[in-house]
């Protein structure tokens, strides 16, 4: 397999002023202490999870369906609250975040999904601009930031295309550009390659690596063994709601 070159060099983006706030620092971007989630129906989806993810890390989250990956992610974006323990994301204790402050927290977290979740009636440009528009960004800010982000993901020539006219890989790039509009501290990718062919999957991984190199923490939930094994990054493995493995430079499966 070949490692693709990113559409834009890292230095160019830094000089363009992107990701200035995502400088590495000592404080972890995610910290869970004895965190657990039990749903109102009594099902425990996560139990006693202890994990610290420092700023700038690249982490794979693996586990079979139903192992708790989705709840783990929903917890990070505060769609569910921890029913036990403590979870701190981007410096905010989730149990202490007031309802009206949730939007502000979510701007510190970018998220992409397996199914892209783009707005089909909007163009590529509009899909990215929408995320700025709905958070009250000025027209000038939108005109400045959107082309920069489309450049980063290599779609600067596709701005006027409808998102439905794009290939799966291109759609995922749009979703990544959108997730980065607020210059988040962490990018969460939930099975981002689940709907993509192997070559396109690798292109997306390369893009995520490039974004990570710029200082953004990346957490990627995946079933893709080949990618995890090839990358040799930190791996968090969930099983039955428990964190059963937290290993640096690891493989998809336990190797000992």
């Amino acid at each position: 397999m070949s490692v693709m070159t990113g559409p834009m060099a890292t230095d160019d983006l830094e000089s363009a002023g992107l990701f200035v706030s995502a400088q590495p620092s000592v404080e972890p971007v995610i910290s869970m202490v004895d965190a657990g989630v039990t749903y109102p129906n009594g099902k425990t989806a996560l139990a006693d999870v202890n994990v610290t993810i420092p700023r700038g890390d690249f982490v794979f989250l693996v586990g079979a369906s139903g192992a708790g990956k989705t709840t783990f992610i929903r917890l990070l974006i505060r769609e569910v609250l921890p029913t036990s323990g403590r979870v701190v994301v981007a410096g905010r204790d989730l149990l202490r975040v007031r309802r009206r402050d949730i939007p502000r927290l979510r701007r510190r977290i970018g998220i992409v999904f397996q199914d892209f979740r783009l707005l089909p009636a909007k163009t590529v440009y509009e899909n990215v601009a929408f995320a700025l528009e709905v958070t009250g960004a000025s027209g000038g800010e939108i005109r400045r930031r959107v082309p920069m982000l489309l450049n980063l993901v290599g779609l600067h020539l596709h701005g006027e295309h409808l998102s439905t006219q794009l290939s799966g890989g291109e759609q995922q790039r749009v979703a990544i550009a959108r997730a980065l509009v607020h210059d988040p501290a962490i990018l969460i990718a939930d099975e981002p390659t689940g709907n993509l062919d192997p070559v396109t999957s690798w292109e997306i991984i390369q893009l995520l690596i490039q974004i990570n190199a710029l200082g953004t923490t990346v957490l990627m939930a995946t079933h893709n063994q080949e990618i995890v094994n090839a990358m040799r990054r930190r791996v968090l493995a969930l099983e039955g709601g428990m964190l059963v493995r937290d290993e640096p430079e690891a493989a998809y499966e336990r190797e000992y």
């Binding site: 974006i77 309802r99 009206r100 939007p103 502000r104 927290l105 979510r106 701007r107 998220i111 979740r117 707005l119 929408f130 995320a131 528009e133 709905v134 958070t135 009250g136 000025s138 959108r178 997730a179 509009v181 607020h182």
Partner: protein, 298 residues
Amino acid sequence: MGFFRFIAFSVVRAWQGFWRNAMMSLATTATVVLMLVLLSGLYIVISGLNSGLEFIESKVGVTAQLVDNLPQASLERLISDAQQLPGVKAVNYVSPAEAMERLKAVYRARGQELNLGDQTLQKISIYASLEIQLADPKAADSVATALGDRPEVVQITTKQDEVDKLVGIINVIRTVGIVAIALVGLTVLFMIVNTIRIAVYSRSGEIEIMRLVGASDSFIRWPFILEGILCGLIGALIAIGLVAVVWDPIQPVMFDVFKLPVAVGARFLATLSALLLAVGLAVGAIGSWISVRSYLTA
């Protein structure tokens, strides 16, 4: 600046939302128009009857028919006593000759001439009388009782029966009208709640993305509330337009019905327009607020 952008964003989204589901929005707007036209009708009729009532009340409240050839001194004493009674605004002496002139005027208005030959006024029962205007219409009974006991007075007539009858009619019309409008209003509310619910569902994808990228609740909710308000606003403007168009043709009809030039003038039209606008906007806002609260849960 930020607030202005929020308003602009919400208004544009509301406008797009209104036309995205045009059939539903227009049907809802039509029910708003129906409700407001009913409300206009009720308002006009009630206003007409109320001015009729005021007119009657402002006229002679109590009439005291006097004995013949009352000495001037007794007459003056009676007038001054009547003026002292509570609730009395003014006392007006009508001589037999004056009463005769009025009678002739009534005939002339009908295009006839009153010819009594050489009969005296007393023979055809034309008497001197006191016309007493009341400051407080409720005082009619006490004034009538007080004057009825006086020897100078032959007979007392009041307008109370007419007033009571009119008050009764007004109350019935008002009650029936309010109940009818309340029922139509509930339908309108239901339509708006439903329209906005459908709008929320049709935008569920966008709403989900807005939440994920950190849009605040106001950015998510207000476009829908404004969409409901838009239904109310457009409905109110159409209703006001309709009232303005039929305004001139209905004036003579109203005059015929109420026998009075009631409720005329730009000021009345302005008041009615303001009422329609307020009710339209309120029903739109309440309906969409209910919908957003029920179907746009966090």
